[in-house]
């Protein structure tokens, strides 16, 4: 098992967060957040990966076979659902922001400050 997936996961997180911090466009920001979130899928799947393991479906296969961890896969699925929900919500908010300010800059029409 190499360290590569972990390195990539951390890289995705850092790149995604950099994008969120510097973004000047809400749609772009939503995508950056999705990139950062995808790092957690990779991390979870890497943790459950077993070299030479089969998919954890045991019909027609002896239960003794080595398989990758199904629990982290369930976690990843949940995580994907969460991510899609958040993206959907943020995009819906972006539409409203655009309707109001004719701009997608998160700094546009800043109401609250101080």
């Amino acid at each position: 098992m190499s360290y590569l997936p972990y390195v990539v996961a951390v890289w995705l997180l850092v790149v995604g967060l950099y994008g969120v911090v510097t973004s000047r466009n809400l749609v772009h920001l939503t995508q950056c957040l999705a990139v950062a979130q995808s790092s957690s899928y990779l991390l979870l799947l890497a943790i459950g990966f077993r070299t030479g393991g089969i998919a954890p479906v045991f019909s027609g296969v002896s239960t003794g076979r080595k398989a990758v961890d199904p629990i982290v896969q369930a976690l990843t699925l949940t995580d994907v659902v969460v991510s899609v929900t958040i993206s959907g919500l943020l995009l819906a908010i972006s539409v409203q922001v655009f309707k109001r300010h004719h701009s997608l800059d998160p700094a546009a029409g800043r109401e609250m400050q101080g």
């Binding site: 997180l13 967060l17 969120v20 911090v21 510097t22 973004s23 809400l26 920001l29 957040l33 950062a36 979130q37 790092s39 957690s40 991390l43 979870l44 943790i47 629990i71 982290v72 976690l75 949940t78 995580d79 969460v82 929900t85 958040i86 919500l89 943020l90 819906a92 908010i93 409203q96 922001v97 109001r100 300010h101 998160p106 700094a107 029409g109 800043r110 109401e111 609250m112 400050q113 101080g114």
Partner: protein, 603 residues
């Protein structure tokens, strides 16, 4: 009794589904009443669970998947008094919210009720689950509903900005939590918190565990809005409709701290036991910064809801100080304080909602003297301000007194003074606003308070929806504030909280379950409580007085403070990129402090 355990989650979720599906087709009064009944049922069930859990904790395995030979696969709910008390708080808050918003959102039908009920189910689940991933799922469910509730008035600017900041910052926090959880799962192959705690009980602190601790703790501290993770809260709570802000301020923030406490004592107390001093130092530092910054910022606001949002941040810092002492009595104090304070703050947020609805503004200066027709509301809000300043012998005072006694035990002499500072300022700010609005005291403008903003979208509440009387709206305000005060008179509340705290701390082992010694409040605690109230009243007097010599001295003082005040205003920029930067800085600092402090000792 065990059969009741899943109900506080299932009942509101099922009701939410029904309302989402059929709410459009029935009369909206029916939806209002149905939702109120569900919240009432949840309140009854959670109170029963709380009473049952006072004797011994209740464990419920979903689908009967109990652990076999020490291997835990199933998902468990573990009901112990601290969590159950928070579930009760959530149910009562929801009940007040729904009564308040009776006939509130005419135009959009039942969506608000659906979101509030999902939120209730998620909060109850969060407070009772014993599974690390389940905790995360309820966290997300709670967050997503809260994002949607914040953006509820999506045709206005402030709610949109608040919702974007809230969503992005909390989602980044969720990613951090997931990272930390992944590391823990990779290490222990378990997700049940007690099982993880048992496996790690006898290992030392290694870098992987320290990173997992820093990531998960900081993630939940974002939800609790501890400095420097707090920026999103003021924007979100000030922009959310008042009935939703009640739930956020009274329960959601507290749940973040609950998760921090639960994860520390269930999982990390074993491996990090010998570094308790370092963790205590980190948590107390964060708590102190939060308490003081929140208090100062709340004084600087003219918008009532934003003032209360910063008061919420400040008081979260106070609870973190109680928890961060890592001691039974401190935790007991935090439990009592958090429940009483949650109710009072909820009442104050609703009070701000009544004002916005009746008088069309949430601004202290716009409202000056215009509240004189609402004496009951004014009295209640003044009482709420005194409760924030821990008026003895009521609920908030009992909790604070316990924290102070624990601090004296631990030799943290500065802690009671920090509490005093935060309480004087937050209580004083509420009293100042109350005096100005209901009695017409004070000047009509103050340049030091945050800028008045574009007035066109100020009134975030609907304009005169039909058929609501002020009495029906004021009722839940009184209910919450008086309820918060009465927490102090629950028979043996201090003893019970102490017992709950001992069991919370000793949960993974359950062997060295020692009986809590009966705590009693010292004379010093009474002095500090009375001092805080006197200080808050003095602060309100000083801000409102028009006696020339006093007010001239006050204005000279304000001159000196102009620069630091403008720096503070500038820090809260309202820009989400800045907030995420602060979050990254905070997580990195906490992680670095823990890594440096804990791992060099390990051979």
């Amino acid at each position: 009794m065990h059969a009741l355990v899943p109900l506080p989650v299932i009942v509101p979720l099922a009701a939410a589904v029904v309302i989402a599906g059929f709410g459009k087709f029935v009369h909206s009064r029916l939806v209002d009443l149905g939702a109120i009944l569900v919240a009432l049922a949840d309140a009854v069930i959670t109170v029963m669970l709380l009473l049952a859990s006072l004797g011994h904790s209740l464990t419920y395995w979903y689908g009967g998947w109990q652990p076999v030979h020490g291997l835990t696969i199933g998902i468990a709910f573990v009901v112990q008094p601290f969590g159950a008390a928070l579930a009760v708080l959530a149910s009562l808050g929801t009940l007040a919210t729904l009564i308040f918003s009776y006939r509130y959102f005419e135009e959009v039908g039942a969506l608000f009720h659906m979101l509030v009920l999902v939120f209730l189910g998620a909060m109850c689940g969060f407070a009772m689950t014993g599974d690390l991933f389940n905790l995360f799922v309820f966290f997300e469910l709670m967050s997503v509903t809260a994002f949607a509730l914040t953006a509820y008035r999506s045709d206005e600017a402030a709610p949109l900005q608040g919702a974007v900041n809230f969503t992005v910052v909390n989602t980044v926090a969720a990613i951090l939590i997931l990272f930390g959880m992944g590391l823990l799962y990779g290490r222990t192959d378990a997700l049940n918190m007690a099982a993880i705690g048992r496996q790690l009980a006898h290992v030392g602190a290694d870098p992987l565990l320290v990173m997992a601790f820093a990531l998960i703790t900081c993630g939940y501290l974002v939800k609790a809005a501890v400095v420097p993770f707090h920026f999103w809260l003021a924007d979100a709570y000030a922009a959310a409709p008042a009935p939703a802000a009640v739930l956020f301020a009274a329960v959601m923030s507290d749940l973040g701290l609950y998760a921090v406490a639960e994860i520390y004592w269930t999982i990390f107390d074993g491996p990090f036991g010998q570094h308790a001093n370092l963790i205590r130092g980190v948590l107390l530092t964060l708590g102190m910064l939060t308490a003081m910054l929140g208090a100062v910022m709340s004084v600087l606001q003219r918008k009532l809801k934003r003032l209360l949002a910063f008061a919420t941040i400040s008081h979260i810092g106070l609870f973190l100080l109680g928890i961060g002492l890592l001691d039974n009595v401190g935790l007991a104090g935090a439990i009592v304080y958090l429940c009483a304070d949650g109710l009072v703050k909820g009442g104050l947020f609703l009070g701000a909602g009544v004002l916005a609805y009746r008088l069309g503004s949430g601004d202290e200066f716009d409202l000056r003297g215009r509240g004189s027709g609402l004496p009951v509301l004014g009295t209640t809000m003044a009482l709420g301000g005194l409760a924030l300043a821990t008026l003895p012998p009521f609920g908030t005072f009992v909790g604070k007194g316990l924290i102070e006694d624990a601090a004296a035990e631990a030799g943290a002499w500065w802690l009671p003074w920090t509490l005093l500072f935060a309480e004087v300022l937050t209580g004083g700010a509420v009293l100042r606003a109350t005096g100005r609005i209901f009695l017409g005291l004070g000047a009509a403008a103050d340049p030091e308070l945050s800028e008045p903003q574009d007035d066109e979208d100020e009134d975030d509440e609907p304009e005169n929806p039909p058929g609501r009387s002020a009495t029906l709206m004021t009722f839940p305000v009184v209910l919450l504030v008086v309820g918060g005060l009465l927490v102090g008179f629950i028979p043996h509340v201090a003893d019970r909280a102490a017992d709950a705290a001992v069991r919370f701390v000793a949960r993974p082992t359950l062997l060295d379950h020692t009986a809590a010694q009966s705590p009693h409040l010292s004379t010093a605690a009474y002095l500090f409580g009375a001092g805080a109230c006197a200080g808050a009243l003095a602060f309100a007097f000083l801000s409102l007085t028009r006696i020339r010599r006093v007010s001239a001295a006050r204005d000279r003082g304000a001159e000196w403070l102009r620069l630091p005040v403008s720096v503070l205003h500038g820090l809260h920029s309202g820009h989400v990129g800045d907030y995420v930067t602060w979050l990254v800085v905070g997580v990195t600092s906490v992680g670095a402090a823990c890594l440096l402090g804990m791992t060099h000792v390990v051979p």
